[in-house]
Structure formats: structure tokens, C-alpha cells
């Protein structure tokens, strides 16, 4: 489906320069990517390669030093409700209940109260938090908080879900469960997902496409299609072969950097 769909998001020549002491580093550096509607793209790379910065540039929280980001051919100039970020540390509004957090976006659009309630109810159900809808974030586990964060973005009709190591702070069991649920949500809503992760396994499990980035300068070195059939079995030989391939490419970019830093 990815091949036939028109490009939703285009990143063209995006570079962000940082001063580090007397040096200047570029992370990301001259990144060109096009992402089709409905694609699930994972970005993986060493810390410092600029993958999180790239995500923040797409979200509109930061501006690139050079280059442009367009969504449906319209340039990104700031945060907007067509793109929603899911942060690793959740960033839920602590004074609002689950339901109020989820209906925050629709409330900004001044929809009629009944419609806001209906949307909130729908997305509370989508992430399976009916019993916890009137709880506050401090009363939820990490996994539940992250579900709320996902629902909050989807309830706002975002076309692109930007996820910055969203499951990094969760225990292994909860992470697996949320990965499964995210795939179901993705299949059901058709939303486009850009997902930053440190885990090769997570990337291969989730993505249609894996972008492998190198650090110093932060470039996209490989753009790999993951052709494995879904649902994917992490213990199958095919899965392992792909995982090993991605891991090998990732470490081959890491090695020279480490050599240089010693």
C-alpha cells in the first residue's frame, strides 16, 4: 500500500547545526525522506545522530537550520494538530482526568460538547481505558499513561503520529503489549507513524520501513523495507535474519565513530 499512496510527508535537505564547544555538529545532516500516507516508519541510530531532533522538527517544535518539511505540500512552520507527538515521558496534563486529557484537542476546536464527549468516549475505548477514564495521570501505570498520550493525539484527528522512544521507560511485558496494541490501532485507523527507537527488535517488529541513521554527521545511511508478513513472530528465523541485517548495518555505522572518539 505504501508504494501506491502519494507522499504525505516530505523532508528535504534538513540540517540542524549545533555548537559543541568550538566544534559544530550537524544532527541531522542533509536528510531527505518521503513518507507515504499510512506508512509505519522507524528511525534507529546511535544517540547524537539527531533522530529525536528530526522528529521535533517534523512536529514543528524546532526549526531546521537548512531545509524544509512539508505535509501534503504545505510547509511546516510550527506545531499543528495534523501532527501529534507522543513523548517518552508522556507529558499528560496532570490536573486533568484521562477523559479530559483525551478531549483536550477536540475542545480546542470548539466542537459542541456532545461531540467532544463522543470523541473522548470513542478514543478512551480505542485504548481500552474505560474503567480508568476518570482517573488522574498520577493514578495510572506507565503503560496506561502512554495509551492516554496516544489516544490524545488520535482524538485530535492527527494524520501523523510522531513517537519519540515512547515505550523506552516501560517494563518488557508492558512494552510488548503496547507494541501489539499500537499495531492494532495503526491497522484500524490508517494513521502514519514515525517512531524513534533504540531497539532493533522493536523497529523490525513494528515498521514497514526502517531508517538507519549514523552519528557525526547525523545522516540516514540506510532506508530498509521490512517485507516480513504481519503479524510478525520475533522468534522466527526470517525475523532473526532481518534483525541481524539491521543490527549489522547499525553497528557498522557506530564503529568508526567510536574509533574516532578514543
Amino acid at each position: 500500500m505504501a508504494e501506491s499512496a502519494p507522499n504525505l510527508l516530505t523532508i528535504r535537505g534538513v540540517t540542524k547545526r549545533f555548537a559543541v564547544g568550538d566544534d559544530e555538529i550537524e544532527a541531522p545532516a542533509r536528510v531527505d525522506v518521503s513518507i507515504a500516507a499510512g506508512e509505519f516508519v522507524c528511525m534507529i541510530g546511535a544517540s547524537g545522530c539527531g533522530k529525536s531532533t528530526l522528529l521535533r522538527i517534523v512536529a514543528g517544535f524546532e526549526e531546521p537550520t537548512v531545509g524544509s518539511v512539508t505535509v501534503r505540500n504545505k510547509p511546516v512552520t510550527g506545531p499543528g494538530s495534523d501532527r501529534g507527538m507522543v513523548f517518552q515521558d508522556y507529558a499528560l496534563f496532570p490536573w486533568m482526568t484521562v477523559r479530559q486529557n483525551i478531549s483536550f484537542g477536540p475542545r480546542q476546536r470548539h466542537l459542541p460538547r456532545a461531540e467532544v464527549e463522543a470523541i473522548a468516549g470513542e478514543f478512551v475505548r480505542l485504548v481500552g481505558l474505560e474503567r480508568f477514564a476518570d482517573r488522574y495521570p498520577s493514578q495510572l501505570s506507565g503503560g496506561m499513561k502512554q495509551r492516554v498520550a496516544i489516544a490524545r493525539v488520535l482524538a485530535n484527528d492527527a494524520m501523523i503520529l510522531l513517537m519519540d522512544e515512547p515505550f523506552g521507560a516501560l517494563d518488557a511485558l508492558t512494552r510488548e503489549q503496547l507494541q501489539r496494541e499500537l499495531l492494532q490501532i495503526w491497522a484500524r485507523t490508517g494513521v502514519t507513524i514515525i517512531f524513534v527507537t533504540h531497539s532493533v527488535e522493536e523497529a523490525v517488529l513494528l515498521a514497514d520501513r526502517v531508517l538507519v541513521m549514523s552519528a557525526g554527521p547525523g545522516r540516514i545511511e540506510n532506508d530498509l523495507k521490512i517485507e516480513l508478513a504481519r503479524p510478525r513472530d520475533v522468534s522466527s528465523p526470517e525475523f532473526n535474519a532481518v534483525r541481524r541485517d539491521v543490527a549489522r548495518r547499525l553497528t557498522s555505522h557506530l564503529a568508526p565513530v567510536q574509533a574516532a572518539s578514543h
Partner: protein, 274 residues
Amino acid sequence: MSEQATALAEAIEPAATEAPRRRRRLQEKLTAIALGAGFPALLVVLWHFAVAYSGTRLIPSPWQVAVMMYDFSFGGVYDDAFSATILTHIWKSMTRVYGGFLMAALIGIPLGLLIGRIKPLRQLLDPTINVLRPIPVTAWLPLSMIFFGLGPNAAIFLVFLGAFYPILLNTTFGVRSVDVRLFEAASMLGCSGSAMFRQVVLPASLPSICNGLRVAHGFAWILIVVGEMTGVPTGLGSVIMDGRTLSRTDLVVTGMIVIGAMGFHHRSHHRGVV
């Protein structure tokens, strides 16, 4: 904790532990009251013996103060200018405290929110505030009497000044210590401008604002006494000042206790709100 475990604990807890927990809480409360009230009682006993053994005439005994308090409240003992006037004095002091305090909150909170959020405004005002803030409010007394004359307005102005800085600074601090991600999250969900202030900045900094209000409340009661010592005929501060002029220390101590009780009342009331 995983979701299942939370749900499980949720299901078991209320029925099994509700009753003992309530009993424990009641016990704790009684202990706190006994300890909290026991210590001042002990102090009163010490006070009584200290006055009795030293034979001083300058400090009233607790009994003399109790009599004065009765007369101040209900009259019928001394029947002088202070008999049965307690409510008038409390009322006058309260109107000034609340007048100054409310003004300070009405200006301090919005200004603090703006300073915390808008960098140029912070750069514009911060140095001035930092120079004005360390000046003790009492140092403004001569100028405030020139500005507002002898009377309640000078007292209200002092209360305003004393309450203004803690409210402003705590509000600014509250805004600045909000996780930046919350603002990012709000802006990506389509929230901006004044909606951002109402829906995110204000609630996110509310704990800190309440802290500022609580501190300001205390200052307001301290400063009302100073303000009322400058020649207003009524108010708890003027009662203490009159007691000094008339060498009636029982009246001075009575006034002090009433102010303490007012402050205590407000403190506990405020904790409930926060």
C-alpha cells in the same frame, strides 16, 4: 506496576482495609490535636509561674489577660473604650487585610503568568523587581503616609506591597518550572494564545500560586499591625499601639492573641483549599 496488578489492588483494597484505616486515621488526628493543644497549655502554665515568682508588674499574668479578653469581647468588667469592641477591630483589620491582599492577587497573578511566559517582559521587569523586592515593606511607611495620608489607605498599601511580591514571585516561579513538554503538547493539540494561559499555564502553576497566596496571607497579617500603628483609630494594630501608650500590657497581649488566632484560622482554612 502493571495494569493488571493495579486493577487487582483496586478491586481488593476498599472492602478489606477501609474500616481499620479509618480508625487509624481518627487515632492519628486525636494524637495531633492533643499534642498541638498540649504545648500551648504548658506554655501558659510556665507563663503563670514565671510572672508569679518574679513578681513583675510589667507583664500581665494569664488570668489578667483572660479577664481582659473577656472584657474586650463582651464588656462588663472595666467598661472603658475597649470593652466589647473586639468585632469592630477584627472587622476593620480584615477589610484592610483583604483589600490589600485581593489587590495584590489581582495584579500579581496575571503579571506573574505573563512574566513567566514572555521573555522580553521578563527582561524588562526582572531587574526592577529584584531591586525593589529586598526593600523591607516597613521602609515604605513614611512614603505611604505621604501618598495616602494618615489613615486606612496607607495600611492597605503596606499590605498590598507585602503580599504582592510573594504572589508575583511564586507565580513566575510556578510558570517557569512547568515542564516545557506540557506547552509543546498543548500547542500541538491546537492550543495557543490566551487559551494557553487559561487552560495550561494557569492550572500548571496553580500549586505554586497557592503557595504564594499562603505566604502572602501571613505577610498581610504581619503588615496590617504595622500599618494600623500609624494613627488609625480602629483595628487590632491600633489596639496594641493604644495598649502600649496606656501601659496596659494585658491589652497588648490580648491583641496579640487575637491576631494569632486570626492567622491560625486563615492558615488552616487555606490548607483546605490547596
